[in-house]
């Protein structure tokens, strides 16, 4: 089962390109959106990664970064990202296969891929929102934006007085 809000996000270091790694800790201090998806080259127009690519400027307004993660290898990710002109990193959860997906509770044993799962992690590395979509359904971005908005509100409103 997918990790829930309030859980520390499991650390990871994964290849973004054949010679460059990306770690969860690289994003400390700002929100991070982690989008697990089943596979590169999904044959639909306006697929999930293409959609997020268009919305990237909006995520940046919240100082949030985005990474996509699937079990595809770094060379495959490179070709896919170039084809779709993606402006955010795709991380290869390739060896040991699906280890990060397992840590987040979103590995699919039955077909060897990951769930279509979203996590919004705050600047302290705590998961603030998570969502698992049916694998064939692109979850869109409204849930991500709501989570980012809620985090922004929480961090700017005064601490309620206790007593």
């Amino acid at each position: 089962m997918a990790l829930e809000a309030g859980t520390p996000a499991p650390a990871f270091t994964l290849p973004a390109t054949p010679d460059q790694n990306v770690s969860l800790s690289d994003f400390r201090g700002h929100p991070l959106i982690i989008a697990f998806y089943p596979a590169d080259w999904s044959p639909v127009c306006g697929d999930q990664m293409a959609l997020y690519n268009e919305i990237l400027p909006e995520f940046h307004r919240y100082h949030a970064s985005l990474v996509g993660i699937s079990v595809d290898g770094a060379w495959c990710h490179g070709a896919f990202a170039a084809d779709r002109k993606l402006h955010f990193p795709l991380l290869a959860d390739f060896e040991p296969k699906g280890a990060v997906a397992r840590a987040y509770g979103v590995y699919r044993e039955e077909d060897g891929t990951t769930e279509r799962a979203l996590f919004v992690v705050d600047g302290n590395g705590i998961i603030r929102w998570s969502y698992v979509s049916p694998v064939g359904v692109n979850p869109g971005a409204d849930g991500i934006l709501e989570a980012l908005e809620a985090m922004t509100l929480a961090s700017t409103s005064p601490t309620p007085a206790k007593g």
Binding site: A2, A5, V44, C45, G46, D47, Q48, A50, L51, N53, E54, I55, E58, R84, K85, W129, S130, Y131, V132, S133, V137, N138, P139, G140, A141, D142, G143, L145
Partner: protein
């Protein structure tokens, strides 16, 4: 438990929207579309057939959702349609909308002025508007409303404000969903 996730149209249909059909129709179908998206092109005759079928019981609304990273002509096409709307009114807009969806293989900037004129607009004004990005903000606002409403690809449809999760390529299923919403 996972968070609840029920995409809902926001903002609601309003005077700033392109609307076809009576404002008091029992069923409102909102399409978020991209003029260069082949699936939207495929959906276009289906939507028109549904309009025929439901007549005055259906109001159609179109909002722009250009995926400009993968469809290089989509943004300018949308801006051109907005320009026609601003200079020549709603009827011309819907003509332009139809022209764009039926000429998806020829949407480069050099064509947009011709289409605007043929739709009843002014070629020179529309070419200038597109060059100046005069309606880019309007298109962008449509796009962001789609993002917040849970648009997850193009086309995405909302029936009376709720995202249609069915198969729009099946006109019977699509029509049944519209009929159910208006019952």
């Amino acid at each position: 438990m996972q968070s609840l996730h029920r995409p809902k149209l926001q903002p609601a249909v309003n005077d700033g929207d392109h609307r076809q059909g009576p404002d008091d129709a029992p069923v409102t179908l909102v399409e978020y579309g991209d003029y260069q998206c082949p699936y939207c092109g495929q959906a276009h005759p289906i939507v028109r057939a549904l309009q025929q079928r439901l007549g005055k019981r259906l109001r159609l609304v179109f909002r722009n959702f250009p995926l400009s990273e993968i469809h290089p002509h989509a943004l300018h096409a949308a801006e051109a349609a907005e320009s026609v709307n601003a200079h020549a009114g709603a009827a011309a807009f819907w003509e332009m909308h139809h022209t764009l969806f039926t000429h998806q293989q020829a949407l480069d900037d050099s064509q947009l002025g011709h289409y605007a004129k043929a739709a009843g607009g002014d070629a020179t004004l529309t070419v200038a508007d597109v060059a100046a990005g005069a309606f880019e903000d309007k298109v962008r606002a449509d796009f962001m409303s789609g993002v917040h409403s849970g648009v997850n690809g193009t086309p995405t449809f909302f029936i009376n404000g709720a995202r249609f999760e069915g198969n729009w390529t099946d006109i019977e299923e699509f029509a049944a969903a519209l009929e159910a919403a208006g019952a």
